[in-house]
Amino acid sequence: MTPRDRAAVRDALRSTSPDLLAYLERRVSVREDAADLLGEVLLQAWRRHTSLPAEPTRQRMWLFTIAAHVLANHRRSIRRRTSLAERLRAEVATTPPASDPAERHAVRDAVLRLHDAQRELVMLIHWDGFTIVEAAELLGLNASTARSRYAAARETLKRALEEPLRQAAEA
């Protein structure tokens, strides 16, 4: 790997790692596990560095695709803990998460009750900030399928959240 290649990978990882950590934290049952998974994502990114796209948005998509695969593997098996991630694991474990007002719980519960195929789409768009086209790519869907699924998910959520939405409007 040339020094220039190395710098390109390093820059992409540094700029995306906070979002990758957040993405992983939101999808694991033990929050600290996100640190180990991030370590694995970074290792895989270095391993595959020749595939790193040149354009920053594509780099981000590429890294999230790796993260999605790592997460899928994590769900299939118990992860080995990597010593590389130990310090970050401790950081995640000892830092309290940002505040979590109770009113958000009802919305989150409704999202989590969605059908699998709709839930991840909504999470990618609203929790991780992807566009619907980007979310479709990460999920291996074509854009029109993603749009119809997303529309169906919104209808389900609207029905489930009728009361919270009414209260919010009154407030």
Binding site: L21, R26, R47
Partner: protein, 198 residues
Amino acid sequence: MDLDQLLDESAPPVTPPTPHLERELHALVAATEPENRRWPRRVTVAAGVAAGVMGLGAAATAAGVLPGWPSFSTSSGQTCTVEVWAEELAPGDGEPVSATFTEAERAATLTAARAYLADFDYAAVDRAQAIAWWQDEERRVRAAQDDPAERQPRLTGDDLEVTAVSRWVIDRLRSHLAGQGLDVRAVMVGTSTTGCML
């Protein structure tokens, strides 16, 4: 408040971004860089032969990376994609080397290495022989490491298998180049694997 806003704000809380977290993330990025991982450096057998270590190299279809081993099934049943590749030696790559090489020597070595690897018959490698050869080398390296606490761990299982075979390929490459009056240290040679956990 509309549905979009409610959904946007429903994300579970995560570790807040702080300067300390940023430092830890940068440290993790640095710690995962191939050249910073510990044992690849220690087992490197020659300058210019980079971390020829399975699982730590590049996954490779980009220009300059040779097609290698499209599919490798380990004894435990994992299937990996394994490749051995040669690239130009860039400043800072590989181990420190006392010999210097002219541009013409580097170019000739790279051409020869790529040609050899492109035609290499991976299926002909005797896996047991490669493992025995690797373990001899591993013993020699470990014996030279005086402090038991710092001694590199013995490889086992799939890690041993893919490492041994890939190092065997690199060793054959070294011999082939030497037969042509070329020195493998004039190029960057490494191995990669994807698709399996080592």
